[in-house]
Subunit: 343 residues, 2 copies
Amino acid sequence: MKKITILGIMLALVAIIYAFPAFAGTDDALLGRAKQFFGPLPSAMTSPENPITPEKVKLGKMLFYEWRISSDGTVSCNRCHQFNFYATDALKKSIGVRCRENPRNSPTVLNAADQIAEHWIGNRKSVEDQAKQALLGKASFGMPSYESVVKRLGKLGYGPFFKDAFPGEDDPVSMDNFAKAVGAFERTLVTPSPFDAYLKGNTNALTERQKKGLKTFIDTGCMTCHSGTYVGGQMYQKFGIFAPYWKYTKSGKIDKGRYAVTRNEADRYVFKVPVLRNVEKTAPYFHDGSVDRLEEAVFIMAKIQLGKTLNKERRDDIVAFLNSLTGELSDEILKVPLLPAKD
Amino acid sequence: MKKITILGIMLALVAIIYAFPAFAGTDDALLGRAKQFFGPLPSAMTSPENPITPEKVKLGKMLFYEWRISSDGTVSCNRCHQFNFYATDALKKSIGVRCRENPRNSPTVLNAADQIAEHWIGNRKSVEDQAKQALLGKASFGMPSYESVVKRLGKLGYGPFFKDAFPGEDDPVSMDNFAKAVGAFERTLVTPSPFDAYLKGNTNALTERQKKGLKTFIDTGCMTCHSGTYVGGQMYQKFGIFAPYWKYTKSGKIDKGRYAVTRNEADRYVFKVPVLRNVEKTAPYFHDGSVDRLEEAVFIMAKIQLGKTLNKERRDDIVAFLNSLTGELSDEILKVPLLPAKD
């Protein structure tokens, strides 16, 4: 009798578990589940250390396009983060000064400033830190020293713009202020999408297929890592839990990931979980750009991160949901600034 | 008596000649002289062979930014013609795929489509011809064939955009249509400046210094070559009439100029007279970018083209006038287009 009761309770539980996804098929229930894992974008990605001001953003945007501060005059932030490609460069791995290849794929700078860290292996602590360090990167701007950048900025006529952005400072043209200005600009780069409208309660903002995909995304367990406002960017994770990633991707050289930063064996093949906002528009995929198509990337992720083999329908449902993360780039984001002509 | 009469007439003529510049010092007279040599910009640079349509311009603008049609994925038209630098690249000589250096400085594509030919040595007959030929240039896009470009455009998802731009065509994705679309976009790139307002009769559109400079520009003879709507672009001329150009510039290798096109001895060191619109913003100067500062470029031009040594005042007057050719880049010009994400 006791055994039957326990069996009955277990069966009831199984029934509830099976019933739950069906229940979640209704709009309100699915929205309720989604709200547990995700949130709508803020209007800007603020930081107490670097308050956003219009003057900083204006200067930061100019500096973002300034390629005369690279060693061969062919690299700006915009070189690897072009807004026509949703702030990526559409390359497997970015190419910097003197045609030097970066070790990894260029992530978008849209919706990027609120992550736990920047870069695939988390070796840049903030967008400000990234902007500054890129200047000395051998395969990015390739400048010999920060002093040489500051000198060059002065010659190019940026003095008055730094003065406006950092009022009252004796020596406003500095590397820290460069970082703050570019960072302030990048903190404004948010791209609200249908998914944000949905999370705010407009259940018609997603198509039926996208809602089905959202459910599949959650049920499959993708949100275990890809969660929060940015659908990622909040943790590190080993790439290839159920199988080595290079067995499924078209990677060449094997990348040790965050191990390169920490020298901790536990960080071997560990990467930052990327933000999935605008993922439809930011091919090729993964840290090495080794996969061209989103369908394939989704299949591989389920396979080697969650040990699940998605059939075509479920894979395409998830892709449909991911397309709802494609945001709008404002006229302000898409407008190119004119740069000082002095030299 | 007869001799005295002739002398009298001659003296009167000399007096008139001397009086003329003084007379031209008044606003109306200077404007009258300016109108003999120059004209205001049209709203677009039309061509009967390639009528401008909104659909062609839309497609052409997208293609202008498309760098996935270059051999290493790092060159678009925009790479050498960035609007933040007034559609130049701010380099001495442009750098194309695989870091290959172009033989000459990148001219602006603003106000460029009505010239006798394109490129410094006139080896591109139109903006359409230039757009197309650049694709195969070893130091520009570096593509192996036009067929490979057409194939790539199809894969990238440009089909519907070509169909819209070239309605009724069986096979709209073609190299000729690529050229027409990019050309149509470039034909819209006009930047009206204070000088245009002046030429239309608003004598207050130029400052006193700029008007003095305009007069000096004419009196010195600069308008012998730099004339017309675009203040240049209408003829070829030997660079270095009074002295070899490389004695005054900081040129390295000596460039034979248009001789490379015609193999005619008379074309040795002959270049197209460049358009001077926006010249304030398009440093470095000359076919090889060998001079950084506009003051120096003006001094050299007077010296070796006209055999005149400008003092500082006259040189700076001319620079002041040239600054009145700096035009306004419309929001439309400065807006980056989003590109298809398919591959």
